[in-house]
Symmetry: C2
Amino acid sequence: MSTQTTETTTATHPFIEACFGRPHAHVPVWMMRQAGRFLPEYREVRSKHSFMEMCLEPEVAAEVTLQPIRRFGMDAAIIFSDILVFLPAMGLNVIFPEGGPRIENKIESAADVERLAPIVPAEAIPQVYEAIKLTVNELADKTPLIGFCGAPFTLSCYAIEGKGSKDWSYTKAFMYRNPEAAVMLLNKLADASIAHLNAQLDAGASAVQIFDSWAGVLSRDDFEAWGKPYLSRIVTSVRRPDVPVIVFARGVPFEWLHGIGADMYNLDWRTSLPAAYQSLVPAGVQGNLDPAFLLGPPERAVAETRRILESMNDMTRFVFNLGHGVLPPTPPETVQAVVEAVHAHSSGATA
Amino acid sequence: MSTQTTETTTATHPFIEACFGRPHAHVPVWMMRQAGRFLPEYREVRSKHSFMEMCLEPEVAAEVTLQPIRRFGMDAAIIFSDILVFLPAMGLNVIFPEGGPRIENKIESAADVERLAPIVPAEAIPQVYEAIKLTVNELADKTPLIGFCGAPFTLSCYAIEGKGSKDWSYTKAFMYRNPEAAVMLLNKLADASIAHLNAQLDAGASAVQIFDSWAGVLSRDDFEAWGKPYLSRIVTSVRRPDVPVIVFARGVPFEWLHGIGADMYNLDWRTSLPAAYQSLVPAGVQGNLDPAFLLGPPERAVAETRRILESMNDMTRFVFNLGHGVLPPTPPETVQAVVEAVHAHSSGATA
């Protein structure tokens, strides 16, 4: 019966099954920034559109989301978008010149925080959810699609500094000086993030990942104050049956992640993945190949991939990924070799 | 007798005594980048000289080294210089435009590494050691002077990328692709660093600190390969009686530091200082106030300072410092409040 066939297919996406620690046919693999500049077909699209256009033209966003799936057969797609995509609707003017995002009217006072508007993302940025619908339709239930957002602390970094930073010290200084405004800002960003993730799930995404890309600059006390409560609130507020919620608090020691409540934690290459797995159980782990390995000899990247896979043998709640995004000069052939190494290693092993 | 008096003074610098875990009158304090842009008297000097001029004009380097000692009474001075100061003598053209250092002929091949010249720092950059002599003379044995260098991995980051980077992935890629050239590069940089530190000690410095500022981007295996052996070799090669050797491998978990052999380890604000102390014993620890606290309300900075001091009560091998350099917009009054809080907390406590 066709209905049964469809259900069986849905129930056996290795990525979804692995995120819940259920039996699956092979270790699933995807890569952060797999839809990106390292792909010639991406650069071709990018040459015709600004970055924001790519995020906000549904056909374009869907196309670049699908490119790595077609080429490499990853076990999950992730919608092409940006963590800052809903900030303009809140009143922050984001632009994307060369050299990284800028916010033209960054937050400089408590009054600036008060002025930030609450948003209904489905009305403010319908293009993102339209892109998800198009992508899900194209994927035809063969590959699950991940939606994502930035964590409130990471979004507040950009909102306060107005541009990238190594240490985000002005963000921290703002929060020390304006503790009440900081809480208001983090809560407003959490509200928007929750609505954004739920709208992505409503549009057909099968999983979500929350990127706290800059949490690694925080002390433990500050992570407890500005990171964890908001991550935890988002996780709780988007929870649905069979929908994995993944948290990537980049640079944060895994011992600090307890209590967030995610199904999976993405970890970087400085972390021992088996040690993190043992600590975070019953949650699972995702990671953690250093993307710099993909710039070196392909055989070295494959050897490191196998080393990670072997270290994680018998740990079923595991998704192979990088410890950070694919770097632009990465040869696509090396990505392919790594994906093939993951699939070859594990075929039949954990079914 | 005057000789005895001098010896007694030398023997009771709290900074030196604390570095060896010997009794001392109060917890010593100094701050990374204490000679820097946050001081109006530094900016006054800086307005008349380029950065490289400041490093290579002995009177100027000595003057800015002394400024924070005069103003705040820190327990140690650190010579004003730069970790890249000897690279030009090796054949790398370093310039310091706005936005950070650049190397005009960065290393792109194994042949480039082979061409790097061995150096005799005392001949190549005599100005640095002359600055140390002038400074030591001015300090008149009241305050010890720290010399410093960059660690080979951190120097190789600049040598290979030619400019700053967030993740130093091209450095790592170069090392994966050219493992033999990487070893040669790290060894050449270690040789120069050893000669540079020894020349600083010969000129009168009382302690040295090795800055591995970018070791935090490395996986444990890569730190074992590219970080630790060279740090360890430098430590061994500069060892002298009563001269503390401090290592700051920024962002590296303290558990990875065992075996380097330093007397003290500087740690950042993400580290639990008491936990690091227990782990690294018999070595000591230095740190670890988040410099961002100095941008917030002074009373918060003082409260955090006291929290660190209380957490380290009874741990005698401890020097108070920041977890990273003083940030340029720091109010000097806040630095003063922190120095006073350290001295007030501990007066008479550990004698």
